[in-house]
Symmetry: C2
């Protein structure tokens, strides 16, 4: 008999992940405020739940894939939340990207009922979710990680246990700081090349194999040159991640000057109505200030 | 009979490059103010010259590998410079990393005597020079590039003709902007992880294959965690390259805010006597400001 697991949050990421789990033979109990997404899953054989508490009454392993910390907090700790029906066999697998502080708070509340949690945010965006090729960064107990690994193997191409509770979220913040700054680096470097009148693809070909090479360049240089900012991963989601990173830094007494600058640029772009562009489009802030487009 | 070429500048980069050319069968006419470096080459069979003009009287192809633009300007256009004995068969192959503006000025002066030039700066540092594995970024006439390609194949693993005169130097500036900002990105990301108490190598393993992955991370994360700042490529050379980049940007009316910040950090480190550290040590500026070391 197939294992029955809960899945709360059937958005742009959660829905394809849930479908991959159904297709891999798992019995799903699903929940979302979007009834059409729920219907897509029930038509595939999943069971619809009426509340997070209802999900927790029906299954022991519950995946959450929600927009940010406040939503995870509400679903787990709020009225009719997971916590109400959590017991010693309950395991929350929160795959949302949220603040490590919120992950620790939720894990501590669950622990009072003997329940356990993994924070397991992902990288790879919608294409990775659809293809089951996400990179999963996990924090929490090792035996629970090992127990859940078959689920991660369905939705992801890799799952690494980075450390204790919150370490998965910290790893995601590290990831997003790197990606955000790398996009800005690409912007500054290729804007200089544009103004100098040099062929950008030849520059890219000349440098990609050396120390300047990066996966951001490989993924985004061709898109920026095509002025293709269709998401991918939206600027306003990157804004959320850097907000969580900067809040975590402030809490720990750290100043991250370049992360701050990039977040300021992202804020300007969101104000300009570009929040739904792909995050490769962060270069547009620099282009606007300088009155020149990379081409 | 083996081709005879000139080589001016037998420093940390030039000397191993010249040796590789001798070992590949070229007859070299060499020049440097450091007589012990010259002696090393003459003991291998190279001929010593008395001035850049002397080199130009003996060979048609002349490689220069010098610290910065003023030195290349002096060697080519100064008293007893290459220009004095340059003719229509003379080809200057300047492999120094200098301002594209200086490269264009030198090429224009040589052109008045019918002589030609390539700007051909490299990436790969001392290890790349020793191994003959440099990445060479070239600007100038295509037929001259093709003519010189066998020389590039001895000292480098790749040589890409990026565009016209100055394009090689512009490409090097693009490279150094990217590398400098990527090092700072690594610093901000891994300082956050350090303060959060997460195992850095596990974080690196979890993210390296995704969008955050870069050659800077691959090369520098292990060294930073070992507090190993032995050069490699020195911070004060990166300072020179970013100075050339920011001067080029200013000339073109561009503002590069993050490049500016990184250059400010490098200036603080040079003031602190760390200019001879490897450029991976740029993270030390952020560490000092925050009073925490990455570990």
């Amino acid at each position: 008999m197939s294992e029955k697991i809960g899945f709360i949050g059937l958005g742009i990421m959660g829905k394809p992940m849930a479908k991959n789990l159904v297709n891999a033979g798992y019995s799903l109990v699903v929940l979302d405020i979007n009834t059409s997404a729920v219907n897509e899953l029930t038509e595939m054989g999943a069971e619809a739940a009426s509340s997070p508490a209802d999900v927790a009454s029906k299954v022991s392993k519950i995946i959450t894939m929600l927009p940010d910390g406040p939503q995870v907090d509400e679903v787990v700790l709020g009225a009719n939340g997971v916590l109400e029906n959590a017991g010693s066999d309950t395991a929350l697998i929160d795959m949302s990207s949220i603040s490590p502080t919120v992950s620790k708070k939720i894990a501590a509340s669950l622990a009072e009922k003997g329940a356990r949690a993994l924070d397991a945010p992902v990288s790879g965006g919608e294409p990775g979710a659809i293809a089951g090729q996400l990179a999963i960064m996990v924090g929490g107990p090792e035996d629970l990680f090992n127990d859940v690994k078959p689920i991660f193997d369905v939705v992801g191409k890799s799952a690494v246990l980075v450390g204790d509770t919150g370490a998965g979220q910290t790893c995601k913040l590290v990831n997003q700081i790197l990606v955000g700054i790398h996009i800005e680096a690409m912007g500054e470097a290729f804007l200089l090349a544009t103004k100098a009148g040099v062929d950008q693809m030849r520059v890219y070909e000349a440098i990609k194999g050396g120390l300047a090479g990066s996966n951001v360049l490989n993924a985004k240089v061709p898109l920026v040159l095509d002025r293709n900012f269709k998401p991918g991963f939206k600027i306003n989601l990157h804004q959320k991640d850097l907000r969580n990173a900067l809040e975590a830094a402030t809490t720990m007494g750290l100043e991250l000057p370049v992360t701050n600058i990039v977040q300021g640029m992202i804020g300007d772009l969101v104000d300009d109505g570009k929040g739904n562009d792909d995050h490769g489009g962060i270069v547009q802030a620099l282009e606007k200030t300088n009155g020149v487009e990379i081409k």
